[in-house]
Point group: D2
Chain length 354, copies 4
């Protein structure tokens, strides 16, 4: 199941040490002017080596479009694209050929398929998300025409958590910080924590908040296709994601009388006085901001010796080599945005069919 979406559909392919990663976008509306600089910039936001906080592997990650575009515009036919893999040191992974890294994909892929490409994580590599970012970039270009924006930021790294909600920050500063957060003071603390763990060869988890603004009323397909269920599935499909909540989420010690969002006539438009619902009621967007939070576990690849078993089932130890991200959050921000953008566009298109 490497296809995502109902109408706007991304089919993704690629392992870290194959020839290329890429995908096919099907169901993309025709006539979208493709802003190549914007698309490449989105890829650059995902790229390793972009700051001192991320793995210094150099990957240029230049997208090559293979089809679906004519004279700079989408034609409504499938958009094939790829990013070639380069700078592969496959032999770096020789020691992982016969061993399962704890909490990694090694064991479950091997059990499921009976074969696995052990080099660089194979299909479970973070390079897989390149296809998502390309799909998301194109979705964003279309959403922009509709006045819909998607903005994510790191809202927690380890124990350092933003204490205000998104409405109280200037979201335009997010990209100026290497951790991608609108709270400049917390940004520094997060940076320090990540660097500390980096130096120890350890890793740390966190959370990302995402806000979608300008969504019209009526997106969402009850009962199983509720908009937040689709967003949740999208987010939980990202590597290392462990949780999803929208609106008040797990903050459940609330009375109905406290959290019901009262409607009022706001100069002729129906608005709500609060937004505990997170912009979605009964699975359908209500015209308010949609916001949600995604939890990420610490990266499982650590530069410490760990107990494990080999593919014969015998006890063994494993220690990763090379350089890896100590915290996935900063680079996951554009991926969260990409998945949100594709989901919202997909549901927008679906809503037109009803």
């Amino acid at each position: 199941m490497n296809t995502f979406g109902n109408i706007f559909r991304l089919t993704s392919f690629g392992e870290s040490h194959g020839k290329a990663v890429g995908g096919v976008i099907d169901g993309c509306p025709s006539g979208i002017e493709l802003d190549m600089d914007f698309i490449q910039n989105e890829l650059d936001r995902r790229r390793p080596g972009q700051s001192h906080l991320t793995t210094p592997r150099k990957e240029s990650d230049t997208v090559i479009f293979l089809s679906g575009i004519f004279e700079g515009k989408t034609t409504g036919t499938p958009i094939g694209f790829m990013v070639q893999n380069e700078n592969q040191h496959s032999s770096d992974y020789d020691n992982l050929k016969d061993i399962y890294r704890p909490s990694h994909a090694d064991y479950t892929y091997h059990q499921k398929y009976g074969i696995r490409d052990h080099r660089g994580g194979g299909r479970s590599s973070a390079r897989e998300t390149i296809a998502r970012v390309v799909g998301g970039a194109i979705a964003k270009l279309y959403l922009k025409q509709l006045g819909i924006s998607v903005t994510a930021y790191t809202s927690q790294v380890g124990g350092i958590k933003l204490d205000k909600d998104y409405t109280q920050y200037d979201l335009s500063v997010i990209e100026s910080t290497p951790v991608r957060t609108p709270d400049l003071r917390k940004a520094e603390q997060m940076t320090e924590l990540i660097q500390e763990l980096q130096s120890k060869g350890d890793t740390i988890g966190g959370a990302i908040t995402c806000v979608v603004q300008g969504v019209p009323t009526g997106l969402g397909e009850p009962v199983f296709g509720k908009l937040h269920a689709a967003l949740g599935a999208a987010m939980l499909s990202i590597n290392a994601a462990k949780g999803f909540e929208y609106g008040d989420g797990f903050d459940v010690n609330r009375r109905g009388s406290e959290v019901n969002d009262s409607f009022f006539n706001d100069n002729g438009k129906t608005n709500t006085r609060s937004n505990h619902s997170g912009g979605i009621q009964a699975g359908i967007s209500n015209g308010q901001d949609i916001y949600f939070r995604v939890a990420f576990k610490p990266v499982s690849t650590i530069l410490k010796e760990q107990q494990t078993v080999n593919i014969e089932g015998e006890n063994a130890t494993v220690k990763a080599q090379g350089r890896h991200d100590a915290c996935v959050l900063p680079r996951a921000v554009p991926i969260v945005e990409a998945m949100a953008a594709m989901t919202v566009l997909d549901y927008y298109l679906l809503s037109k069919a009803h």
Copy 2:
């Protein structure tokens, strides 16, 4: 999108004040002996009026199977079923015809479809979950043959939260408490809290924990069909669900070195020494227990006057009548189990196709 699943698929229909609610189960394996008492018992667990904690509306909720069964066994053809609606006081809802209840489905349904059945919540009524429970009951019967069990319980009501994890409780006592929790002391506190809110016409949120045991290694379809993404979408499709987390979930202040689940040779079988992963690694079950948590908001129907607008967009007030659940958690437990059972069976069947 009233169909759930890939191979084992439930299509659901019905409003609270229509003739019936029900569904069609397609892709159910043939030859399953249908234990009607078990199925009815599952429905009874969901039924209102089962204890002093739930709305005293009397609904017998007897399932009638219309097809797909021959001599007590499933035939592999679609299983149509329904539960007739009864005891409807449609006129109780006359005052809601022209008004939107805050944080309810009224406004978004009306905006999306331009028409809505205002009686009893229409399609957004909790009666919709009857179809889920029937589907889940049949899925459980099949899973049982495979040695897979699904057990959920209320792990939080308002500020009262279980402080131990599921391995430290005797799960067999869950059904003996009206709130459905294995912690008998917390059960009392939860009961008191719910009754207090009930008397005030207010409502309260909470969380449910679910454990799936006996799942074989290899279920899950990377990359977009990760097992936890499917479970998340299933849970988030339940009315009032606001969040989903599995394994360590939002407890993200963790180092990789703390939470990686080491493998070891356990008398010839590969096992893990801990289970921070929640039984799923890279989207594929690893043979350990799967566990997750679902957040539920307080029921939006409260017996207090609230500010809102009517369908003309004019400011108005609304106050619900009749008796309603002050806390959805106890009755949501069997629904969480049903959705989990259908998801796991669906992914089990999918795994056979690869």
Copy 3:
């Protein structure tokens, strides 16, 4: 796979000797005024016992809507419906319990599922098409608003074949003949042939032609969702269907120079001078009439002794009892229309999402 369609989706259930046959229509646009007389009339066209040419089994086939309708209009939520089975003489089928009728579903269902409901054909019974007719009737009501009509007729029974195309007939006379054909002279010959075979306990095949008029340009989803591929799959899913052709179809002894449909400016509108394409070019409707033909084999149930095997694999003989249709064509006409209507509506709704 008892669900048909992408946006407008029918999920069907039911065996001939279960409690009911029925279905769920999901994705139906809201606000359609349901003309119950029209829907029932469509069912009556499908019903056995409607003329001396069809089996005299008496089935009233009254549809009961269970959900999705409010004050006579569709609400956008799933429309559950059923038709109760009655007048069942299950014991009539006792002799078929352990034996496979040649060219019937008995053998393959038993091999696939390991169990089968032998009474009245079980799931393979023609009663299954009731759900299609209800779905098709609702689709027609919507298409009518768009100015799209769907008309089918019997164009061949055995060797008696209409020699003119649909443009040369008055299609309004179709329903006045028991065989449902616009050629009144051929109608008599067909009737005679069917009656002759009826008296001999034998059966005969034939073909149905269907014309869809008023379809806008642009329906069809290349490359795998070509409109004629969808129509073909829809038609071939009908019991006893053996072939599908559209436009010139199997009449392939043609030069390109003969059959290319020249465009011309027809008072400001682009039209074609001929319609060998059958209204579809490259899988997309071109605004001309869509027409196609469906082949049906003779009913496999004959009142003659036939060689076969029993469920133990031993040679045996079987002879059907009771009264059966000698020719399926007259009753298949409304089913062909229903499948065409649902397909065209589904593709119309899909086209709005792009």
Copy 4:
């Protein structure tokens, strides 16, 4: 809808004058040894310029696999692949930029999408079928392990039609004739006819017969996923296909008593004495040979002046340039096989999930 299949799924992309055509195969079983020579040979069978009967355009059509393969075997992850476009004379198509060729995709694509790549047919080009052939080749490799073979041949060109059925020919000679037919005498006549039309700049239609042998009993998903409905949709999705029939098909002047396929005990195995059913009964394979026939219209590109309109809707004339196939049949044979192989494999995998 550029994705085909349920479990074994091909997503296809590419226009004739873009960078590449290709696809992604998802759901392919792991562990299949990829015989690259076989795959390339299948592509060569589809390639133009392979004989004097096909367009002499030179395209090497070498497939490049981008992912999903490790040490020569499939890994169960998506197989991305592409064939680069070369030898493009885009300027040859300048005269088609503003004009619609009769019975071609030009008009409908333009109406649907509001934009089209006019060069070489764009997405509607026969180059799109490259992805199908690659997918089909991999499916064939798997089917071979199961003892299932797929063989197609040209059974009609214009008025020249094979008069015996497939059981009466030596199918191993098919590939030795440029028209791909097992009847060597008719092969010569067909060749002459095609050459004659080629010299006149005209084109001709025909039909292809396909036989699938070794299919186990039980493939097919009633009621809408009947095996022949899936095969029909697959075939009708091929460019220029106009009809599909299986078993007796449109040869409907038959009595039930003539065409019912009697079962008999064939040394312990249940077999049928005839095969009018074409190997499929009630939508499920019965273990006999599956055979069907596909009609193809004459290629719409002819080297003669034709009446048409331009994109302004004004009357105009158009005349194609360059070299084109006078008959699509010989090159369509491997495409019919590819689609059949993918369909049968997909349904084989589906059958394992039930």
